[in-house]
């Protein structure tokens, strides 16, 4: 009576993609526009005042990879967290709790969905900002940039999943976003090189995992970074592995999803 069944997670991934695609105006175009506004304002105000990497790189060029990565990270987080909290609050989470989807299936689908959203927005920001600095297309290390974008979006997608599991209300999710995600991204060197900071804040930045994601991503564009990219890669990969393990463990226990 029951047909031979394949895995269920590809459908959940498809649903996650369809969900943001159906409202692409809000989920893709709006964040691209925000990033563009940051670029216009900051580059206009700071271009002639800030020197980075000893003057080798124009500030506007320096800023763009930061904005691209910030968009990737924030949108990856937004996708998994808002999808899950919406399902929890409206009660339709039951549709994915009843089928034989394993904790690994849920993890895979939500995080891959978040990664796709983050990467699509990041790509959108990159394409639009290329009009300002076309030379950025000639990246010395595109694979490094790609690896950091993948890992960064996976980490934020996982954090979004955790936040969505933890939160019972939209305002709790907003707390997570406004007091953890936004400060960590803004203070990670999106808008500046940490070498321009006083020693204390330079040291503090090194405890911010987002700093390594953005610094490593930028290495792909300029062949220049504040810390060695291999060190950043190891740290970011470790961070990703640990968070994933934690999240899958919590999913297995049904933490805040199955009573």
């Amino acid at each position: 009576m029951i047909r031979v069944a394949g895995a269920g997670w590809p459908t959940l991934l498809y649903k996650e993609l369809l969900r943001f695609w159906k409202v692409a105006f809000q989920t893709i175009l709006a964040p691209v526009l925000s990033a563009l506004l940051y670029l216009l304002i900051f580059s206009h105000v700071l271009e002639s005042h800030v020197t980075v990497y000893g003057g080798e790189v124009r500030y506007t060029a320096f800023l763009i990879p930061g904005l691209v990565m910030m968009s990737v990270l924030q949108n990856a987080f937004a996708n998994s967290s808002s999808s899950l909290i919406q399902s929890k609050i409206t009660g339709n989470l039951i549709f994915i709790l009843l089928p034989p989807l394993s904790p690994g299936d849920l993890y895979l689908a939500y995080v891959l969905g978040a990664m796709v959203r983050g990467l699509v927005v990041g790509l959108g920001v990159f394409v639009v900002t290329l009009f300002f600095v076309p030379s950025l297309l000639a990246m010395p290390h595109p694979l490094w940039a790609l690896v950091f974008a993948l890992l960064g979006s996976a980490i934020l997608g996982t954090l979004g999943l955790l936040a969505g599991m933890w939160a019972d209300k939209f305002d709790q999710l907003a707390v997570f976003q406004n007091f953890i995600i936004v400060p960590l991204t803004f203070l990670s060197g999106v808008f500046y090189s940490i070498h321009s900071l006083p020693p204390f804040w330079q040291a503090a930045s090194r405890f911010n995992p987002f700093f390594y994601m953005i610094d490593g991503f930028r290495y792909g564009f300029f062949g220049h970074s504040d810390v060695a990219p291999s060190f950043s890669l190891a740290l970011v990969a470790l961070c990703c592995a640990m968070l994933s393990l934690l999240t899958i463990t919590l999913l297995r226990r049904g933490w805040k999803l199955r009573h």
Binding site: M1, I2, A5, K15, F95, P99, P100, S102
Partner: protein, 307 residues
């Protein structure tokens, strides 16, 4: 042959509230089973445990022999649940909803069965409508459809007809009956006792997290309900006065234990020269049984449950 659903000594607390304690019973394959009880009796918690939505503190549940926690994939594939809450995903149309639900069970190309579900639930004309635009009754039917996409051998309906109008309720029950005839096991929780009476062969009653009755409908009715005679006469025989349940303007409602008692009553009437203007027998109904059991007449002596 394993039972369709088996609960073994299930207990579950929510804080200081004992939602379920020591619940054990089995539902056989092919049964149309009713789970009754007042609000807060633990019906939904028990169903949630069977569906893996809630974890039991102690005890275990099995669907067709598959443990709902250890062997969750097999257990969930065998089970279709129509939840009580009217939930839906506002991003999708009716057909998308059913296709996506099929996919979660790993079933692709489920179009033929989805078409049949839509037809049977009278949703064909709404197939491409967004879920948001549907009435409450239609959303309820989509929930039934979602529970059936993977053709589960065991189907649980948690208060499925709340908010569905009478006509649709009839067609819905027609469909569920057909599924039962086709071999699906059906478990139904409902507040509508007449519904359970019309449909279910065997019934469990829950009260405050315990099974207080578990028997066939027939046995419950004959054991607890008794027979009531509606009798229009000047008075009832002296010896029968204590058996009068109530009197409404010359119409007496008299309780009988057995049909044989009717014979005795009529004899007495003749002997005392009382004319019968009107006489009818009122059938026992489940509501009466339910009230008797829940009213505590039998507290401490659960029917059909080994003490």
């Amino acid at each position: 042959m394993p039972a369709a659903v088996e609960f073994i000594d299930i207990a579950r607390r929510f804080g200081s509230v004992r939602a379920l304690s020591g619940v054990s019973f089995a539902v056989d394959e092919g049964e149309f089973f009713g789970l009754l009880g007042p609000n807060g009796a633990g019906k939904t918690t028990l169903i949630s445990i069977a569906a893996g939505l809630t974890l039991a503190d102690t005890g275990s549940a099995r669907i067709l022999g598959h443990d709902v926690v250890r062997d969750f994939r097999q257990a969930r594939r065998a089970l279709g649940v129509v939840p009580q809450e009217l939930v839906f995903d506002p991003f999708f149309s009716v057909r998308e909803t059913l296709e996506i639900q099929s996919g979660y069970f790993g079933i692709r190309d489920n179009g033929d069965w989805i078409d049949e579900i839509l037809h049977r639930l009278d949703l064909t004309s709404k197939a491409d409508a967004n879920m948001r635009s549907l009435s409450g009754g239609m959303k309820r039917r989509v929930l039934v459809g979602q529970a059936l996409v993977h053709k589960p051998p065991v189907i649980v309906l948690d208060e499925p007809t709340a908010g569905v109008d009478v006509e649709l309720r009839q067609s819905l029950w027609g469909f569920i009956r057909k599924l039962n005839r086709d071999g699906h096991t059906i478990i139904l929780t409902t507040h509508y006792l007449e519904e359970a009476e019309a449909l279910c062969e065997r019934i469990a009653m829950l009260q405050a997290g315990r099974v207080v009755a578990l028997d066939t409908k027939h046995n419950l009715l004959s054991r607890f309900a008794g027979i009531t005679v509606r009798l229009a006469a000047d008075r009832v025989p002296m010896a029968w006065r204590t058996r009068v349940l109530r009197e409404e303007g010359g119409v007496y409602f008299v309780a009988l234990d057995h049909y044989a008692d009717l014979e005795m009553l009529l004899q007495e009437m003749r002997r005392e020269g009382l004319a019968i203007r009107e006489l009818s027998l009122l059938e026992a109904d489940l509501e009466e049984v339910f009230l008797k059991i829940m009213g505590g007449d039998l507290r401490g002596a659960p029917a059909g449950v080994p003490a």
